[in-house]
């Protein structure tokens, strides 16, 4: 049998011919799944390596993959897990929204005005150099156990990176479009929605990723130090009970949820924002 793809003589298949290539559909499907397959291979290697290490060390401090899996199963069956996750999400969302609003205003101002850039630059640089642990401790000291504590800690830790990213993004905003908006007298809301936000989209998504990664680290610290609920507080409880498998299970689940947020929400929003580029490329 021979696969014929077009007009021309049919070549009989020789016995030593290479195996026929996979059908185009299958190859395309494999190519599409290359990324997820590579990620899955890495995770498999990580879990296997960890398990072998735990077997080799035979220590309570390095529990096996099966123990961690059992802890994960226990956690996901517990309604308290979802409550803690929800509380942490709420705190991060509020803090990040605050940081986003402030960073957008300050970042655009820095991009538009040299005076504003000189005024805010030291604040951004100082903010970038302060460790998340310091923000967490200071917010616990200043705000106690109120909701404002984690919200401010998240906002203070993520705003500088977000601001810097937006400020750099303003350099790519076309000044000719700003002139056009000026002569047609766009309202401030229209300028923000239809000019600044789409122009800044790549910088916003880059900054959001960086800001969120800092926010997750800080929220866990704040919850460990000063809160009685949330993911950090739960990790602290497992730590106090010397349950290393529990600490690792919480960490793994938290990382999983973060990855879901990255792939499910951020990438979806990014694709939506860049839809016009894809249409143009077709």
């Amino acid at each position: 049998m021979s696969l014929r793809t077009g007009p021309g003589p049919v070549r009989p298949r020789e016995p030593d011919d290479a195996p026929p290539p996979a059908p185009a559909g299958l190859r395309a499907a494999l190519r599409r799944r290359q990324g997820p397959l590579a990620a899955a291979a890495f995770l498999l290697l990580l879990v296997s390596g960890w398990h072998l290490m735990s077997l080799a060390l035979d220590s309570l401090l390095v529990p096996g993959a099966d123990d961690i899996a059992a802890e994960i199963a226990r956690l996901v069956a517990d309604p308290g897990f979802y409550a803690d996750l929800g509380v942490t999400f709420q705190r991060v969302a509020l803090g990040f929204a605050l940081a986003f609003a402030a960073a957008l205003a300050v970042g655009i101002a820095m991009g538009r005005s040299p005076l504003a850039r000189r005024f805010f630059e030291p604040a951004v640089l100082i903010g970038l150099t302060v460790p998340g642990l310091v923000w967490a401790l200071l917010c616990v000291i200043w705000f106690g156990v109120d909701l404002i504590n984690p919200v401010m800690a998240v906002a203070l830790s993520s705003a500088p990176a977000l601001t810097l990213s937006i400020h750099q993004g303003t350099r790519t905003t076309d000044p000719q479009l700003l002139e056009m908006a000026h002569v047609y007298r766009f309202s401030a809301a229209d300028r923000l929605r239809y000019l600044w936000l789409p122009s800044l989209a790549p910088a916003l998504f880059g900054g959001a990723r960086l800001g969120l990664s800092l926010a997750w680290k800080v929220i866990v610290l704040v919850e460990i130090f000063g809160m009685s609920s949330g993911v950090g507080s739960s990790i602290n409880r497992e730590f106090a009970a010397q349950n290393v498998a529990g600490v690792l299970a919480w960490t793994a689940l938290f990382a999983l949820v973060m990855a879901a947020l990255e792939y499910g929400v951020l990438q979806g929003l990014e694709n939506r924002a860049a839809r016009w580029r894809k249409v143009a490329a077709v």
């Binding site: 239809y194 016009w276 249409v279």
Partner: protein, 242 residues
Amino acid sequence: MSTTVELSGVRKAYTGPRDRSVQKVFDGLDLSVGPGELVAVVGASGTGKTTLLHMVAGLESPDGGRVSVGGGASPERLGVVFQQPRLLDWLPVRANVEIALRSAGMDEGLADAALADVGLAEYADTYPSVLSGGQRQRVAVARAFSVDPAVVLLDEPFSALDELTGRRLRLLLQDLWVRTPRVGLLVTHSPAEAVLLADRVVLLAGRPATVVREYRVDVPRPRSPEDPALFDLHRRIVADLL
């Protein structure tokens, strides 16, 4: 229609970023555009044509003198066609026109009619980046005229297009002007474009630049680019430019 554009005693200078030398672009420029008149400003590169238009558009301020658009208490509504279309590529064509209408306090539903006027009704839902250069500039023309502007400013609007596309768009612009005459200021390198579209052509030269000559185009619209009267005037302007 009583709207006019008046520039009187306008001074404008730029300071060199390195040697701090002062380059005077205008030092007492006077120019007026009467009601319903389209004036074309021609001149060599660097004579300040675009600076002049930017001052009328409010994008730059004069160092001295007065720039008046309309003369009324409230600023007149402007329609501007730049050398580049300056479209928001992430919005469909219709939305690009709608946003100008909304900003002018007008009904966004007029966008479709404005696009139909420039022959782009069927492209209303597409993104500008898939359009050709000429089509993109048509969208810019539709946006400028959709807001029923008291004053239309045209900054070398067709210089980035190929000859044939530029010619089509000049005729389209003339057609729009015949339907509704407005106050207009056209800045162009092309004397042929100036004589085809304008009621009066102003030659800007020198540094600081002044109006060195004016030509009245007494040819009724619609005009043909092959009109011998226009060609004669074109030749005179080119000779004066050289």
